[in-house]
């Protein structure tokens, strides 16, 4: 897409591991690698507890520092995130990379006005005075299509509707013109109609600002709506990634296939919804082999012994010893066309 071969990608994560300490350390992320180009939207897809949010939050090192051990490398906009000091980190957060949270009601401080919380971020990163920050915050509220932005500036979070709060959250996240936006299931807590509006708004702003987005979701429909590429995660690893259309039409990993066939799509009335048997593994006691092997109907002896590598093939990566063959009647070209 926009990532030309000459300029390096905006985000480059290499072999990232995240472990939460304690008596029984939890290996939440186990060797995740991906890149995001400038102006690209990467969907991070997976079920609860697969490490997608943990991966996302690692990009601004938001986990409690005392209990978290990071491994690998995170390079964003030429900066080594894991090597940053606390001071550098707080200047980087919100300015280069910012975040939109799942539940906007909880992500705003209830005792400050929404406007003040946006102005606060602007002042933190630009150093302009209070009245200029206020003007800018109102402009942003207006930009995310909040009616009567000047009045809404004075509103407290509990005085706004869910959709409006999420718009304000987006205004806050984009207030310092970041290059990368981390979106942690920003539409999950919203009504279906509001969901679409928020996704359209994000897409529009993303194009306008040339923004890169990493969008975490468990909802394939949402991922299709917003992403250029998706990475499917399972038990703290990316098991498959590639262009969204290809993944949807021709999943190569058995887990991706299971995930797709357990989702309701049009024209399915009367057919039984497939479910993936079993449950995800305990992240404190991961098996030595492929984490999905125990639930996989294609698993062989090799799957239990070692973790399969991601084999790169023209933008497609699959971490599987027995990847599914592409469907016979549908060519990759057709899938792209969708």
């Amino acid at each position: 897409m926009n990532d030309s071969p000459i300029s390096p990608p905006l985000v480059s994560v290499t072999d990232l591991t995240v472990t939460f300490g304690g008596r029984r350390p939890v290996h939440a992320v186990n060797g995740v690698s991906f890149t995001v180009g400038t102006g690209e939207v990467l969907g991070l897809l997976g079920e609860s507890g697969c490490g997608k949010s943990v991966t996302l939050r690692s990009l601004i090192r938001l986990h409690p520092p005392k209990r978290t051990t990071y491994g690998g490398r995170i390079q964003i906009d030429g900066q080594d995130i894991l090597a940053m000091s606390e001071d550098q980190l707080s200047r980087y957060r919100g300015s280069v990379t910012s975040m939109v949270f799942q539940e906007p009601l909880l992500a705003f401080d209830p005792v400050y006005t929404v406007g003040k919380q946006i102005a606060e971020a602007i002042r933190r990163h630009t150093g302009i005075d209070a009245s200029a920050a206020r003007t800018e915050a109102i402009r942003l509220l207006d930009r995310v299509q909040i009616p009567q932005a000047a009045e809404r500036f004075q509103a407290y979070p509990h005085e706004m509707s869910g959709g409006m709060r999420q718009r304000a959250m987006i205004a806050l996240a984009l207030s310092c013109r970041p290059k990368l936006l981390l979106a942690d299931e920003p539409t999950t807590a919203l009504d279906a109609t509001v969901q679409i509006q928020i996704l359209l708004l994000l897409r529009e702003l993303q194009r306008e600002m040339g923004l890169s987005i990493i969008f975490v979701t468990h909802d394939i429909g949402v991922a299709v709506e917003i992403s250029d590429r998706v990475a499917v995660m399972y038990a703290g690893r990316i098991i498959e990634q590639g262009p969204i259309a290809e993944i949807i039409s021709a999943p190569a990993h058995p887990y991706t296939q299971g995930l797709l066939s357990s989702t309701v799509t049009q024209g399915m009335r009367g057919t039984r919804l497939e479910a993936i048997p079993g449950a995800p593994p305990d992240l404190a006691a991961l098996p030595p082999g492929c984490a999905f092997a125990a639930r996989c109907r294609y698993a062989g002896a090799d799957c239990v012994e070692s973790v399969p590598d991601t084999g790169a093939d023209a933008g497609r990566e699959v971490a599987c010893f027995h990847p599914l063959p592409p469907p016979l009647h549908e060519g990759a070209a057709d899938a792209h066309a969708r």
Partner: protein
Amino acid sequence: MGFYVLRRVIYALPIALSVTVVCFLLVHIAPGDPLNAVAPADAPVEVINALKVAYGFDQPLPVQYFRWLGRALAGDLGTSVATGRPVLAEVMTAVVNTILLAVFAAVLGFSLGAVLGGMAGYRHKGIVDRIATALSVIGVSVPHYWLGMVLTIIFSSKLNWLPAMGAGPGGSKEWLWDAEHLRYLVLPVTTLAVIPLGIVTRTIRALVADILSKDFVQALRAKGMSDRAVFLHVVKNVAPTALAVMGLQLGYLLGGSILVETVFAWPGSGFLLNTAIFQRDLPLLQGTILILCMIFVLLNLLVDIIQPAIDPRMRRS
């Protein structure tokens, strides 16, 4: 906001009125004849009856109540049976002494409790947290009259550093702002501060730990706010509840601790109450309880008014 204040004040009125009823009834329901204090046990019946008429005890209770209420509203709480001085004057002297004690104890207990609780909340389950929790449990559970006695034994009897009793040299009841008088404050204030210290520490610790676990704290960090800026957000979130608890505690302190004031012979309202009870000084007892209750009602009203000024969520409900 003005409407809210007005509504709160109107709500406080029936409470204040019921307090007067309870105050009045309490004394009349309590066993024992109020005239025992004035008349000797072997006084002739005519004298007793004459006294009854003089004090108005021959009238039915409701009549007595309204007469008493009417006088009380006019600022006349009667005269002390024991000393013959106006009750209002007696109570006011005592209340001023108690306020002195309460304010010092509150400042000490609240500030120490806020610092300790805040630190414990920030270092949830750390070593500071454990120490603060242990201290607050001790503070809440140690009987403070016992603590007062122990402190007296150590610092007055053994070390002879501080006076054990009274509010000033030579048993004076009038307060003066000098070093000599301040020395008399140290032990009772320390003793009295222990309970609010414990409660405030515990409350603020729980509040801070709870706020820090909220999503918005993560969101603040995610937008690059410094630790100091996050701390200010935490303070503003903790303040409404912490203030309510402190207001309540200040109310208890202003009520005067009968036990602590008795241990230290501090001439405050608690001590006065104790004296009034033991001397069966009915007008004094009634007047003291009434004024203490009114202070409590007033303080709650004040907290009610201040709280929504800090917490916007309480403004429109």
